[in-house]
């Protein structure tokens, strides 16, 4: 059985790095719809993939979080990217693969992946 002791060791090793974290106001939020419609369409693996890649790339100014149903059930899984001072970007019909592309292009390089956005895909 794995115990919480290991976590104490992790805390010890991390304490030195604290204070580097960004203020909440500067944070980019990536929001995944996790109501029944989102979950039924495959939001769980999308959320897991996003949260894994954000940790892997050390994107400390990015917060992956979740929300309920926003009323666009037919376009789930939906991922919204909210960057401070910018318009919200809504990506629809996401998959873990597309989500990784969004991280690479949009979050890291600052280029919105238009082909997956709601405005583009609804045309």
């Amino acid at each position: 059985m794995k115990s919480l002791e290991e976590l104490r060791a992790i805390r010890e090793s991390m304490q030195a790095q604290m204070g580097l974290r960004n203020e909440e106001g500067n944070q980019t939020r990536i929001v995944v719809g996790m109501a029944t419609c989102g979950i039924a369409s495959g939001a769980r693996p999308v959320l897991t993939a996003l949260s894994d890649i954000v940790q892997e790339k050390g994107l400390t100014n990015v917060m992956v979080t979740q929300t309920g149903c926003i009323g666009l059930c037919q376009y789930e899984p939906i991922v919204e990217v909210v960057e401070p001072g910018k318009d919200k970007v809504t990506y629809i019909k996401m998959t873990p693969e597309k989500a990784l592309e969004v991280i690479d292009q949009h979050i890291v390089r600052g280029q919105v992946v238009s082909k997956y956005t709601i405005s583009e895909m609804m045309e």
Binding site: K2, L4, L7, A35, L47, M63
Partner: protein
């Protein structure tokens, strides 16, 4: 339809989050001898009135305004009942809600438990302002993960720090395997 019990759990737990709960308790218990799998989700959220409870099993009832249907509870109820099990809801307004579901473990129509560790992991990581107590039991052996204990150890180090998130995930998976010895549920 949500094809895994663990996806239904994720869905029902999201109702607790929407109800403003600060603590959500999720219990999954397997008893092979009694041939039963039970799921209990309790929260300290805003609860429901008697009238709301009586209507919540109706898929065309929902309090949300973004759409007209609420399928989560009907999905869970149906999934339980087709295996000879049942689902019940107890709630006290402004205090708590408790959902109980039982499934016939070996029933041919029981959906698989599925990736329960992922459900718990995503709940914890994506809702860091809420506490979760998760208990997994198989034939009398159990383990639990209580985010209040994690917080006590971690102080202000967030759960989504790579080392911490990795620990949480491995803790869930390894301890599950120790408890159920990889038994396919």
């Amino acid at each position: 339809m949500l094809p895994e019990i663990s996806l239904n759990i994720l869905d029902i737990a999201n109702n607790s989050i929407r109800a403003g709960a600060s603590l959500v308790k999720i219990e999954v218990r397997i008893n092979k001898e009694e041939d039963i799998l039970t799921v209990k989700i309790s929260d300290n959220g805003c609860g429901m009135t008697r009238e709301q409870i009586s209507r919540v099993e109706d898929p065309f009832f929902t309090t949300r305004t973004t759409r007209d249907v609420g399928l989560g509870i009907p999905f869970l109820k149906q999934a339980a009942e087709i295996t000879g099990g049942s689902m019940s809801i107890e709630s006290i307004p402004d205090k708590s809600t408790i959902i109980n579901a039982s499934f016939g473990l070996s029933h041919i129509d029981r959906m698989p438990l599925g990736d329960i560790c992922s459900s718990i992991y995503t709940l914890i990581l994506a809702n860091q302002n809420i506490d979760f107590l998760y208990i997994y039991e198989c034939d009398g052996k159990e383990y639990q993960l209580d985010t209040r204990e994690l917080r006590q150890i971690l102080g202000d180090i967030p759960f989504n720090t790579p080392e911490v998130a990795g620990f949480i995930r491995n803790f869930l998976i390894e301890n599950k395997n120790d408890i159920d010895e990889g038994y396919s549920i």
